[in-house]
Amino acid sequence: MSAGILSLIVIGLGVLGYFLGRGRALSLATATGRKLHSLPGYYGQSVALFTAVPALLLMAAWLFLQPVLIDSRVNAMIPDSVIPEGGARSLVMADVRRIADGLDAMMADGGISENELDQMRADITNIRSRLANVGVALGSDVPVAVFDAAKEMRQSSKTGALAMTIAVLVLTLGAGGWTLMRINTDLRARNISENFVKALLIGASLVAILTTVGIVSSLLFETINFFKIYPAKDFFFSTVWNPQFRGGSDLGILPLLWGTFYVSLVALLVAVPVGLMIAIYLAEYASKHVRSVAKPAIEVLAGIPTIVYGLFALITVGPFLRDYIAEPLGLGSSSSSVLTAGLVMGIMLIPFVSSLSDDIINAVPQSMRDGSYGLGATQSETIKQVVLPAALPGVVGAVLLAASRAIGETMIVVMGAGAAAKLGLNPFEAMTTVTVKIVSQLTGDTEFASPETLVAFALGLTLFVFTLGLNILALYIVRKYREQYE
């Protein structure tokens, strides 16, 4: 029975439970002539919740854990001898999975029965060609151990699915029946179902923590694997980034960090002055009319997906900079460059800086401005000497948040900055960043357990730590500043 049908059955039983519970409560009330503690609907609700929710949770957990357990069991069945020279265990496991699927397809075609399958032996039956008939093409003949592993995998996932169906149905009927039996006129059904709902609410709010745990653990786990096969010293201090397909790669993070910081610096040099001046103008000078037009227009920039900025960099800004500035000046001939990515990223960050600074400038008390005007200062003097110093911590926070966005930005640099890892100063040259390399290392064809792929996790962890640090610092500064005027 597939998981979809099973969950439909469970939900159906839950609905049935609602009506049974409600009906039972009502009939008890009329039979005994006593008032119910709660509204009849609550009796139904508690039965429905106990029927459906635990069973669905069990099913979700089972579906998640079963493949993991079966994989590890089947993995243990494969001896090292069948793993081809220079090949990897994961490839053999992939074969096992495909053979298992192929056997299922053969069964579905009606080609063989369960009994025949039991007797099928890899060394006797021509399994490769029979599998090819159902659309599973294998590179080489199947070793006995692999075929046995595939049979075992198929068998245990079938047993697992059956066990899951039984367990889920037993839990549904058991928990539902138990709550149904418990119903009497004194049962505090409202409290029970409300506590149940509250537990669900708490569970939902834990998803945020689980996500963070998931991110940190997946990054840490694979990073540790990476440092087992690649020395940490070379990763952090080598100035050469040169991944090779056949091993012996140089995976130094320094050129990538340099590229990241260079692009972010250009972006901030664009975004901070422009964004800040926009915020000042809109907060202090602009008439209501101008503000009502300009502010949403600037904020539209924030709602545009980064892929659009990436395309803009690729087809407009990059060629423009190359043809009109870099080539005439003899500075470079590449349309993807630090300046391209930086400029476009700067545009992306303008609304970010301006709306944050706008809030902060508006939070500076009017009395401070009035005091300054009273002393005879002009408006710009007031802004430069009173408002901005008062808003400075908040503005710094906004800039740090923008910097963290710039470091983590991916699509603009993938499409605008280039792929060459270089330590250079010329902004018209193509350089690359941490995020670009995460994408290229994880979308390539290299094997997963190789340092060339795992390095992406170490890069991801570095990125995570940097952005998290900047965010915490920025939030700390902003929060501290807010307290000053509240």
Partner: protein, 452 residues
């Protein structure tokens, strides 16, 4: 003090005998600085607005032409001698004829059309003339024949895709000069195309196939469409909506209405605000490591993309929902509690319905963000070349699919400049979706916004 009366300017020497209305040098300087500062503000705002206009117009100018496509209308004789040699209409035998078997039919039809319209160009043989038609056309023809085997032996009018270079010629991307250097097209072929256009054989029509067709290979940009990508994006948005709305609302209700003020709650809140700032690509790594490698979900599947985007959208929805819940005045809760409702009843029967418009607005904005997100989807394999439409849900959630923004990225990595046009066109489609969603959010807010 005598000095003071004799020279009214005072010790600093200002306004020596001048009028009060006449500005001195220092005031002028200060006023000029004021004007300069103001000008800088105007310039900054203009830079922002110009950047927006430049961005949008660059995409529009590059992409608008992708909504029109050049077609060549031909009367193709579906020759039974070629397609159904046995003549018994057996579909299996007809299916054995590959697209190579259909190409000569098109070539013949092209020859006939040229002859009929007197459009022949010197130095252009029949094979070269047939190259005006996309390599995708035989496949289209074959699909038609397999769907209507009874048409074999008849002459059927087909609107066939013109080759990418021909399409580019009518859109200004290819010129006579560039054709001279191009191996894929010759000036003679362009001249033929011009003549055919005058004869009305070649038309430029609205490109419906752009919205429905699947992706095509590197050499056939004219056939590439967004069908699979739009379907994949819709599937993902469905998953994101079904998961993130209940989860987000439940989490916000707990945090806003029930959570005690303690460290545990603080931890959850710090977590949520940090998740909102984690770079999107890190969520992609999470999806790859947890959903694909550990949970064993298939690569490139909308379900994985949907889960990853759900986790990314949750903070947005939670923040919006909490703001909406906070905006409901406490008097509503007090009144409900006062007439005997439980805390849970007051929240679900009174507070939540009142906060719903705000929650939905936040959800739509969160979905719009998720729709444009690219980087995490690259890591979970959605960048793969997918030509098959995913099945209908729920099985379709596990089939490989593409997504709109990923399709854009995918097209920009290809060599043919025609794909840049397609990518810009896809961006326009994406932006139209986003504009619709945002307008819906704004209308929802206007319609139901309530001031207490």
């Amino acid at each position: 003090m005598t000095d003071f009366t004799s020279s009214p300017t005072g010790a600093n020497g200002r306004r020596r005998g001048g009028s009060l209305l006449e500005l001195d040098a220092r005031t002028k300087r200060r006023n000029a600085s004021e004007a300069r500062f103001r000008l800088m503000g105007v310039i900054a705002v203009s830079i922002g607005v110009i950047a927006l206009i430049g961005l949008l117009s660059s995409i529009l100018m590059n992409g608008a032409s992708s909504f029109r496509q050049t077609y060549i209308t031909l009367n193709v004789f579906l020759d039974p001698a070629k397609l159904d040699k046995a003549g018994d209409g057996d579909l299996e035998k007809i299916a054995k004829v590959t697209t190579f078997g259909y190409a000569p039919l098109i070539q013949k039809a092209m020859e006939a059309a040229i002859k009929e319209n007197g459009a022949a160009v010197d130095g252009l043989n029949a094979k070269k003339a047939a190259e005006l038609i996309s390599k995708e056309a035989p496949a289209d023809l074959r699909r038609f024949v397999l769907a209507n085997p009874d048409k074999i032996g008849e002459t059927v009018e087909f609107s066939l895709l013109a080759a990418g270079r021909i399409d580019g010629y009518f859109k200004g991307r290819v010129t006579m000069e560039s054709a001279q250097l191009d191996r894929n097209i010759s000036p003679e072929q362009l001249m033929l195309a011009d003549k055919l256009k005058q004869a009305g054989v070649l038309q430029i029509k609205f490109n419906w196939a752009f919205f429905t067709a699947p992706d095509a290979s590197d050499t056939r940009p004219e056939a590439a469409g967004l069908g699979v990508a739009i379907l994949g994006s819709i599937y993902m948005m469905l998953i994101v909506l079904c998961l993130s709305l209940p989860l987000g609302v439940a989490a916000s209700i707990y945090l806003e209405e029930f959570a005690p003020q303690n460290r545990w709650t603080d931890l959850i809140e710090v977590n949520i605000s940090n998740l909102a700032a984690v770079p999107s690509i890190v969520f992609g790594i999470l999806g790859l490591a947890i959903f694909i490698n550990i949970a064993g979900l298939p690569q490139s599947a909308p379900v994985v993309g949907g889960l990853v985007l759900t986790l990314m959208t949750l903070p947005t929805i939670i923040i919006a929902t909490r703001a909406a819940l906070k905006a409901v005045p406490p008097s509503i809760r007090d009144a409900a509690l006062g007439i005997g409702a439980s805390k849970m009843q007051s929240v679900f029967h009174h507070v939540l319905p009142l906060a719903m418009p705000g929650i939905l607005t936040g959800t739509i904005i969160g979905l719009a963000q998720a729709l444009g997100e690219t980087a995490p989807l690259l890591l979970i394999g959605m960048v793969a070349f997918v030509r098959e439409y995913p099945a209908s849900p729920p099985e379709g959630f596990f089939d490989p699919a593409s997504a709109l923004p990923v399709q854009v990225y995918n097209w920009t990595t290809r060599g043919d400049p025609a794909f840049v046009e397609r990518a810009s066109g896809a961006i326009i489609v994406l932006l139209v979706f986003l504009v619709i969603m945002n307008i819906a959010a704004i209308m929802l807010r206007r319609r139901f916004e309530r001031r207490w």
